[in-house]
Amino acid sequence: MVYVMHSTRKIANPVMSVFTIENLRVTFDTTDGVVEAVKDISLNVAEGECLGIVGESGSGKSQTFLAALGLLAVNGSASGSVRLCGQEILNASRIDLNQLRGNDVGMIFQDPLTALTPHLRIGQQMAEVLKAHRGMSNRQSRQLCLAWLDRVRIPDAAARLKQYPHELSGGMRQRVMIAMAMLCEPKLLIADEPTTALDVTVQADILDLMSEMQHQHGTAIALVTHDMGVVARLCDRVQVMRSGECVERGSVEQIFAASQNAYTRSLLEAMPRLDSELNRSSFKAGAAKQVLDVQDIKIDFAVKSSGGLFARRTLLRAVDGVSFDLHEGETLGIVGESGCGKSTLARAVLQLLKTTSGNVAWLGTNLQQLDKQALKAARRDMQIVFQDPFASLDPRMTIADSIAEPLRTYRSELSRREIRQCVGDMMQRVGLEPQLINRYPHELSGGQNQRVGIARAMINRPRMIVCDEAVSALDVSVQAQIMDLLKDLQAEYGLSMLFISHDLSVVGEMSDRIMVIYMGRVVELGRSEVICQHPGHPYTQALISAVPIPDPRVERNRERIRLAGELPSAIDPDSAFRFLPSRLSAKVIGDPPQLQQVGEGHFVAEHDPVDSLLA
């Protein structure tokens, strides 16, 4: 290593730079030749500073940091200069790097489930860091591990040490990752999409935690993300990347208020905003005809619980008494966090799943009473677009075949030429170029595949479409395009839409009305702008305050509304009374909380006074 060089540079630098990358290039040797993933990137992170690296998928933002720490895949190679506290570390030996990694540099990754070793206990995984870098025995390190788990606000830390990763929730796992990365009090924390796989309320907690590390421990943070809202909340400086190059850099205020670069501006504009005034819906429910009427749906799943000589089954109520209606040309947004039952509900509406009780009526006919033939006929009017566009298309069928399949099912009178004509028109309508016609899903991008999914759903001109997290897996700019496409198609065909998402800002932009679901129950239902601006239920309020707004001035002056306590288990029958603890303690638990009308078309579930529920 080049020790002489760094000492002179250290003096030359007035602000202590913890981490400096200069002219980094990363290339991968693939069967298609050499691919340049990162082209000439330079950046630096100072002590106690948070630098945001923003870019869409494939921009090389993750590879930049993996390369810097020698974590590239075997076919990758890097050149340039990377210095940690002035010491050159790029392409250093494994032994030298192992002294830095986990010690001077901590890393946290996107998906905390796959990023933790599944067969090792939390305690074992944390202790091995201290053993490698501090030579501590398990007994010595235990106190330190417990202290850090406490510091990242993990309840009952001693019990967690004995648990395996799959026994923790996603948010808990990410807290463990942070605690593990912070064990040796690193100078630099690299966070690669740390909150992308998490619910918004959990994301907000994790971001708060990272900001605490930055300010209390003086840790420099490099935050790699695609989410401008996250950047607005956390970062001091921003660097925008696109196809391996840096297109703009500056302070977070400069970038958000006065970006000089067209790409940065397009990224900012593509972000849906909860506080946007443009979200006003012009839809008048009174004038339009009711198409879908869902009454008191309940869906139970049997879950096996182990223990004892004989296996027992308990019932998990995924959806518990949900009622709503949908009008012609209307979009109803269904929002809720993971596991709240929103996708189950959507599948039940389309009769893809058996309901335990309740009614689903489509144009006045009860769908549950239809036989197979009649249900098939009715399904022509009701289509669905799924979250993962790649996984929901048959990998062995060309996209044209996938799009044409509903035609073959419902309009067998069409000739082969007419089908090709229809598919061609539809592809053009959803913005797919005609030469893609014989491609397979793996040859297309995520956005293109989602267009295929939409074309497939739309080709028979259905009257209702269910979008189940249809834009959640896409990059922001693609997300914005798909949302526009859906709106256009809706206006053109007079479609009704159920738009399901965990992302309140996306739902807010798409919907006329919004229904908020918590643990299988509706907690609030109302017009979109009412829900976003004047939410009545404490859960909705907490959800909205957790959604980051891509504007640092607004975002940093907002007050977070935090609910007290942890998420209850879905099997626990008391979970319905999460927001009515007074009734639970009074033991009057006959009726679950009912929806009460508080304004025109605005319903809020019964709850205790908001102040008593907040943390």
Binding site: L69, V74, Q99, R101, G102, L116
Partner: protein, 307 residues
């Protein structure tokens, strides 16, 4: 886990019963019997012999008596072909022999196969890897009935280092060639399965995390990758275990070891009903136990699997 084991063992009793009944009737369905020979016996002699072994009784009575004998006395009856020998005799004589060379084969194949596979994956795309993969394919495609004679030719006839056959109480010179011959093809498959499983694990996110924590390569391999790598290997090892510990005809024939394998084949050919049934039940019980062990091993390797 104890409750699970008891539940599984209890659940396997009907399986074994069905196995006994089905093989009992299938055997009788096959033409011929233990006393059919080229020169027919006089009818009164045949009737006499059949009465002695109870073969003149109605089938259901024979089955019932057979089951009762097993349950009450653990007695599988006399052999119909080998005079004055009980099935229990044959099994208790042959089983220790097959168990010895079978278990040894299993251990050798697993240890060598897994080590080679792990080593190849750690040196992915280097000459070590290519060599291990080619050796694996070669070993896998080498039939053991060729390995047997070739080994005897080299080590007994040419070099004169090892005895060409026999058992001799299972002394190690008599064990080497049977174990090598029987394990070669398994080593090949296990190497290949281990290697590809290991490669997948090495590319996983949690190995990247382990590297980012600054752990040594040795601790990454031993602590973080070995268990998940073994998952697919274990599902292959279960059937292999049953197969090798119940012996192999070719080993018993080429190396004259006197194991169970040869009895099974000869009993099938001579319609020695009681020996055949006895060995079939042994196979069945072993399979049930090994399946249980495989599932327990799964639970040990992957804490997500709860029993």
């Amino acid at each position: 886990m104890l409750a699970y084991t008891i539940r599984r063992l209890a659940g396997s009793i009907p399986t074994i019963l069905v196995l006994i009944v089905a093989s009992f009737f299938l055997m009788r369905l096959a033409p011929g019997g233990p006393f059919t020979s080229e020169r027919p016996l006089p009818p009164e002699v045949l009737a006499n012999i059949e009465a002695r072994y109870g073969l003149d009784q109605p089938l259901w009575k024979q089955l019932w008596d057979y089951l009762l004998n097993i349950i009450l006395r653990f007695d599988f009856g006399p052999s119909l072909v080998f005079k004055d020998r009980d099935v229990s005799d044959i099994i208790s004589q042959g089983l220790p022999i097959t168990l010895t060379y079978g278990l040894l084969t299993f251990v050798v194949a697993t240890v060598v196969g897994v080590s080679l596979g792990v080593y190849a994956a750690m040196h992915h795309n280097t000459w070590v890897d290519y060599l291990a993969v080619s050796l694996g394919i070669f070993a896998q495609s080498l039939p053991n009935f060729i390995m047997g004679p070739v080994l005897i030719l080299i080590f007994t006839l040419w070099l004169g280092w090892l005895p060409g056959g026999g058992w001799n109480g299972g002394q190690w010179p008599y064990l080497i060639m049977p174990v090598i011959a029987l394990s070669t093809s398994y080593i090949g498959s296990i190497t290949r399965i281990t290697r590809s499983a290991m490669l997948e694990v090495l590319n996983s996110n949690y190995v990247r995390t382990a590297r980012a924590k600054g752990l040594s390569e040795r601790s990454i391999i031993w602590r973080h990758t070995l268990k998940p790598t073994l998952l697919p290997v274990v599902s292959y090892l279960g059937p292999v275990f049953v197969y090798v510990v119940t012996g192999s005809v070719f080993v018993d024939i080429y190396f004259s070891t006197g194991g169970l394998g040869q009895y099974f084949v000869s009993a099938a050919l001579t319609r020695d009903y009681s020996v055949l049934l006895g060995i079939t039940i042994l196979y069945g019980v072993l399979t049930v136990i090994v399946n249980l062990l495989t599932d327990l091993a799964y639970a040990w390797l992957d804490p997500k699997i709860r029993l």
